[in-house]
Symmetry: C2
Subunit: 152 residues, 2 copies
């Protein structure tokens, strides 16, 4: 029994023997982390959307500041989708994420790439470029949500 | 009645007529946002702590990457503490935050300044500097939590 527990502990330690950037003590922590990263990203992406859609006046400086935060955030959530983090806290993440790792990775890479374009467009100070790039990011968000996030 | 509603709407709009970087549709959104920013910050700060405390080997590159994310995150939560965001979702934020705005602002500025030192120390590649700066940030976290966050 003791051996079994020790093996389980060792296996769990191995499980989380990922790069320091991907370490979480419990699956619950990883789930909370990835959800938090998406929440922060969505808030700042929404501010760019308000400008892209004309709901608030375009302010190039504010757009660039928000895009830079979105770019930073876009790289973070993925470390929170490690093996074994499909449960442990309420999550809308579909099991397909862990069954189709390569496809999920491609979808997340696509989003990161589109966000990098948004960041460049925001820095350009050109509203039309910002609008186009905003649309590209939105499509990459939607594609991933449609495939890998359950409806509420 | 219609006028009263219109006035309420106008007042609510004014209420949130903050810089675009501080806009939230509902207090609940602001609360969720600030909590998410703290969650992401804590995860990355914790990775630096693991190195500062010798729980994982020191890796200058990983420390610098994490410190840069902490520095970005440190500036974000404060926009989520606007007027009227003392309630609307579960929160451990004490009412003192809105009663002692200046003191809370000073405490948050202190944290941001300590994190900037941490970022510089991490970039230096010197573990002793990192440990010292980590302690400074930790103290600024604790001071603010002691004064402005309720115990669980």
């Amino acid at each position: 029994m003791k051996i079994r527990i020790a093996l389980a502990a060792a296996s769990s330690a191995l499980f989380f023997a990922l790069p320091a950037s991907a370490q979480f003590a419990k699956p619950e922590d990883a789930i909370k982390y990835r959800q938090s990263a998406f929440t922060v990203m969505a808030a700042h992406f929404g501010r760019i959307g308000a400008m892209a859609n004309g709901r608030v006046p375009y302010d190039a400086k504010v757009a660039a500041e928000n895009a830079e935060i979105v770019a930073t955030m876009s790289k973070l959530p993925w470390a929170g989708f490690g093996p074994g983090t499909d449960q442990g806290a309420p999550t809308r993440a579909k099991p397909e994420i862990w069954r189709e790792g390569d496809k999920f990775k491609a979808a997340s890479d696509k989003m990161v790439a589109e966000v990098a374009k948004l960041d460049a467009a925001a820095k350009s100070g050109n509203l039309d470029q910002l609008k186009a790039a905003f649309g590209g990011v939105g499509q990459s968000c939607k594609a991933c949500h449609d495939a890998y996030r359950t409806e509420r």
